[in-house]
Symmetry: C2
Subunit: 314 residues, 2 copies
């Protein structure tokens, strides 16, 4: 499909793309660029690409598909470096979790003739780094593209076909709409999960130990999301502020009402809400976006095995 | 271990106890009582017990272990009915998620010579009803007992051994301490999950469809908890109000600070918090209370199969 794909940044998403491109034969060669030598060595040891460099400009030279896979906060610096090295006719895309900000930051560095089509594969795990990736990550998951009004339809088609080849379902929408939908499906849930795990981290030592011990009662679900990459998520909240604050405002209004229901002991109001929310999960299972197995299919009865090293947390 | 175990209420926990008692041969007979004939028929069709009745008093007659497995809100009525039928020397326990309230409600109905030892197996799934239970549910999970200061040590030992035989680790503490720890590990996380899923349920139809579609970005984790049994959870919030409001207050203070960090764009504060929270998940994995597999071990690459019927939502 492509002669040379350049991946700038090689964390969970970048390495998963590399695995998928290799498995499905989507490019003659894969060039990998990342700033830190240590991460690059890790990517090379894993055999993720065909060439490895700490120079993003070198990686993108001659590439007909370039995908930015760094945290969004690094895009400005990366674009300043690679802008002059991008080939006319090449497709430039990314995998960032916010889109309006990305368009604003990338545009000034975009040379004539390069097709910029922002993207966001809605897939991931709580692990990060080059070793966290796997080819199956995108299967049955959505990838949102936000091409501009003046985007070349042929280039868009090529990128759609690329993501479909990786197993994704693809949908196009405007950057602003993407950012609003993701604020409620992703950004605010992450903010809340980080917050409650932070509240626990601040508890007195004794209570904290007990919370960890008895975490299987619900709290541990939140810790998965709150174990996501800190720099990536910092950048999300720095660059999608308005939509996040809007959706967080709605959440807080509703929480005030629910807090009051607890205080005054309004059983019927609680039961009504708790019944309504059950239906939402059923919709997600019906939409094929979640397993119907109890407890996410966590292996019941098989004690979770403590591990000495957590491979994912690079 | 016991001659006759009476299970009053036969939802997820009651039916899981029945499976475990049968598998490990912990009683000569199991009597099952539940108020609704339909639920009783379901339990009988599943072969969960040796006798079935809609009369709790009849079930507990001659039982040397009685376990209340109804929602906590029903305990008062159940105790008024079974109190006169309880055998001297019998152990009376329960599986409710709150403990101080349970002690208060049960005590007035307790006949002389019956050993009341409240309990709470910290285990469950988002499914409910007699068909949701399985014998492995308690394996490697904690069961908290809150015996009073005057409890008979031999009776406590028997109940500890019973739960250990079901696979649990057992810990004793005071009812008030239990309620405070569970408020933060379980009750507040459920409240927050119910709340955010409710916020989504209130969105305009178009946006709501998209949230369901793109839920795999984080939101769907919350929907699992928010799919838990509505009546059981209503009763938790009606009966552990003070501890829930205390912990919710801490959560809200922290969320105000985080909201401000988003508004003013305080990147370092966010990164610091997001890094700290990652460590909490590692502690839970090390404590053997969680899988280290990415994404809870949800089957990556195996598309979740939409199901026509959701067995669990009875």
């Amino acid at each position: 499909m492509f002669e040379k794909i350049a991946l700038v940044g090689i964390g969970l998403i970048g390495s998963s793309i590399a695995h998928g491109v290799r498995r499905h034969g989507l490019a003659r060669s894969i060039a990998i660029a990342t700033r830190r030598q240590e991460t690059l060595d890790e990517a090379e040891a894993l055999g993720l690409g065909d060439s490895y460099t700490t120079s993003a400009a070198e990686a993108v030279r001659g590439a007909d598909l370039v995908i930015l896979c760094t945290p969004v906060g690094a895009y400005g610096a990366v674009m300043a470096e690679i802008g002059p090295a991008l080939e006319p006719g090449a497709i430039l895309s990314d995998v960032g979790s916010v889109k309006a900000h990305v368009v604003k930051v990338v545009a000034p560095h975009l040379p004539e003739g390069v097709h910029f089509i922002p993207g966001h594969p809605i897939a991931g795990t709580e692990h990060s780094g080059p070793s966290a990736g796997f080819a199956d990550l995108f299967i049955n998951r959505w990838c949102v593209l936000t091409p501009g009004a003046d985007a070349d339809p042929k280039a868009v088609d090529r990128l759609v076909t690329f993501w479909q080849a990786l197993g994704s379902r693809v949908e196009c929408m405007s950057p602003d709409h993407h950012d609003l939908v993701l604020a409620i499906t992703s950004h605010v849930p992450h903010l809340i999960a980080y917050n409650i795990v932070g509240t626990v981290a601040d508890l007195e030592q004794d209570t904290r130990s007990e919370v960890i011990k008895f975490s299987a009662s619900g709290f541990r679900d939140f810790t998965r999301i709150a174990a996501s990459d800190p720099v990536m998520w910092r950048d999300v909240f720095l660059t999608n502020r308005d939509a996040v604050l809007e959706m967080l405002g709605r959440f807080l209004e509703d929480l005030s009402r629910l807090q009051r229901a607890v205080r005054v002991g309004d059983g019927p109001a609680m039961e009504e809400l708790f019944t309504r929310t059950r239906a939402i999960r059923r919709s997600i299972i019906t939409a094929g976006q979640e397993t119907s197995a109890p407890d996410f299919g966590r292996l019941q009865g098989s004690p979770a095995k403590p591990e000495a090293t957590d491979k994912g947390s690079a």
